[in-house]
């Protein structure tokens, strides 16, 4: 087969120019800071609060998405009902819809005069321009990750095992808990991690609905943008590095989950 040297050379060159050198620049810029400066930036009240809001709400949203994603997958794969194929197809909309569009749409929907915001306001619940709004946007962009990672595994799950367990007298709940859930666990964890990682870094769909009040509803990516516009590059870079390191840890964890799943003979398709 010809062309290995040429294509590999081009691949590495282009990868370096577009991805590796720009990302390395971020770490080089950070290394210009002393450890004290770095520490001061990260422990400033506003930074800590932004990181807490981004990571905390992303974690909560990923938990909700884990449960809701599981229900949606189960319903789509195991049940038949009118409109099932359409509902299956629209799960991808949060992937396909530009984040700014999702942002203005969710804000219009949950604003106090919006279709959902008005009834919620009557109950005394304010969603738009509060941390709950951030949470809602993070649920929107995260749940397809759980659905699309678990779905192929649940489809491939052999019905015979369940039938065997049932014929041996296991109850439905036992079968779900002892047979189905263990096979799905790696995929569920992967979906959870992907939804979490996406929500932590999310910007477009969040900033419209968030309210963006410092220390209350200001997410870390927005703080990076604000620091950049104030020409406080060191601050922006330090926050970015912390977020990037966490993303890398998430990728690493996902890879471990997949290796673990492979040794157990369960396929996770990501």
């Amino acid at each position: 087969m010809p062309g290995f040297g040429l294509t590999m050379g081009l691949t590495l060159t282009w990868l370096s120019i577009i991805v590796l050198i720009p990302l390395a620049g971020l770490f080089i810029k950070t290394s210009e800071l002393s450890l004290f400066q770095f520490w001061d930036i990260l422990t400033a009240r506003r930074t800590l609060n932004a990181l807490r809001i981004s990571f905390g709400l992303a974690f909560l949203a990923a938990l909700v998405n884990l449960v809701m994603g599981m229900i949606i997958v189960w319903v789509l794969v195991r049940y038949r009902f009118p409109g099932r194929r359409i509902f299956d197809a629209i799960v991808d909309i949060p992937f396909a819809l530009p984040t700014a569009v999702a942002g203005v749409a969710l804000t219009a929907l949950f604003a106090q005069k919006g279709w959902l915001g008005a009834p919620l306001a009557a109950w005394g619940i304010k969603v738009a321009f509060t941390p709950i709004g951030i949470f809602v946007a993070m649920i929107f962009i995260g749940f397809p990750f759980v659905v699309r990672t678990v779905q192929p595994v649940l489809i491939d799950l052999e019905i015979e095992v369940e039938e065997a367990a049932a014929s041996l007298g296991a109850s439905r709940w036992d079968i779900i808990r002892r047979v189905i859930l263990p096979s799905l666990t790696p995929a569920i964890l992967t979906g959870f991690a992907l939804a979490f990682a996406r929500a932590v870094g999310e910007y477009g769909s969040v900033i419209f609905i968030a309210g963006n009040l410092p220390n209350v509803s200001e997410i870390a990516p927005l703080l990076i943008v604000i620091r950049l516009s104030e020409f406080r590059y060191a601050d922006a870079t330090a926050i970015a590095v912390i977020m990037l390191v966490v993303s890398f840890l998430v990728i690493f964890t996902i890879n471990r989950i997949q290796r673990w799943a492979q040794t157990r003979g369960v396929a996770v398709q990501v």
Partner: protein, 288 residues
């Protein structure tokens, strides 16, 4: 990261949960999808047409809107083109040969998927901004990258970098090298083999990758927002214009642009479904 498309749903129909449980779960799923997916889509179009069709089209024919549409199309064409060429080349190197560190290389190619959009823009500010590594050099040579089209293209290319490659790598790995080796043993040149054997085998995969890459390129907001500079009529893409008009309380105009992007997303999903059926058909056929 992007999830593989699911295979066709199994025809098995098991109804082992009680009727009540089944329909409770179905109701929860439908309610959730309606609230989080259907309603946001409907609201975009309702708001866009809230002042009638005339206001909608006059918003879209505004010079600023037209310039944003033009810029978005230009940037997407360049970025998708670059990533298409890269994706095919990288997939050839990775799928057709065995070498150490392959898994690591694939991880590096996937990297942009796990970087926050804002950080994807920030890295180019650090390189090409006034205080950046190449800032002074660029300034003295009068080259403008940041707050201009080249910066927007770079950020978009970064964000959409993995789409084509990660679609083609598994597809080409599955197809193996037998057909190419046969063509070469019959005397075809490497390039001719690639054009006549490989390309026809991966054409649906290429289209699929380009489709997803294009959707993201046209819709990218965070990364482009950081490098664009928001110069009116010059460096605003469609998603950026949605934000600007929204912040100026020009809701009809903002949602009109948003509706074009939402329409693009819907078309993308429909074409994607069609391509998926082609990909599923195509795979067994390419084995013989």
């Amino acid at each position: 990261m992007v999830i593989n498309r699911p295979k066709s749903t199994s025809a098995h129909e098991i109804r082992t949960e009680p009727f009540l449980v089944r329909w409770t779960l179905i109701t929860i799923a439908i309610l959730f999808l309606t609230i989080f997916v259907v309603l946001p889509l409907v609201v975009v179009f309702t708001e866009a047409f809230s002042r009638g069709v005339g206001a909608y089209f006059s918003a879209l024919s505004d010079p600023e809107a037209l310039s944003a549409i033009r810029l978005t199309l230009t940037v997407a064409a360049i970025s998708v083109g670059l990533n298409l060429v890269f994706g095919v080349i990288a997939a050839w190197a990775i799928a057709k040969f065995e070498f150490r560190g392959k898994v690591f290389l694939i991880t590096l190619i996937d990297l942009p998927f796990s970087v926050s959009p804002v950080i994807s823009g920030l890295v180019f500010v650090l390189l090409f901004g006034a205080q950046g590594f190449f800032g002074t050099w660029l300034q003295s040579h009068g080259i403008q990258i940041l707050f201009a089209v080249p910066g927007i293209v770079l950020a978009t290319t970064f964000v959409t970098f993995p789409f084509v490659a990660r679609e083609l790598i598994p597809l080409m790995q599955e197809q193996g090298t037998q057909e190419e080796e046969a063509a070469i043993s019959l005397g075809a040149s490497g390039l001719r083999t690639f054009l006549r054997v490989t390309i026809p085998n991966i054409k649906w995969g290429i289209l699929y990758g380009v489709l997803l890459c294009n959707a993201r390129a046209m819709g990218e907001f965070g990364a482009v927002s950081v490098v664009s500079g928001h110069i009116r009529g010059e460096t605003n893409t469609m998603p950026l214009l949605v934000e600007i008009l929204y912040n100026e309380y020009q809701f009809v105009a903002s949602f009109a642009i948003a509706s074009l992007l939402a329409f693009l997303a819907l078309v993308t999903l429909i074409v994607k479904t069609v391509l998926e059926s082609h990909l599923e058909e195509g795979q067994p056929a390419s084995d013989d």
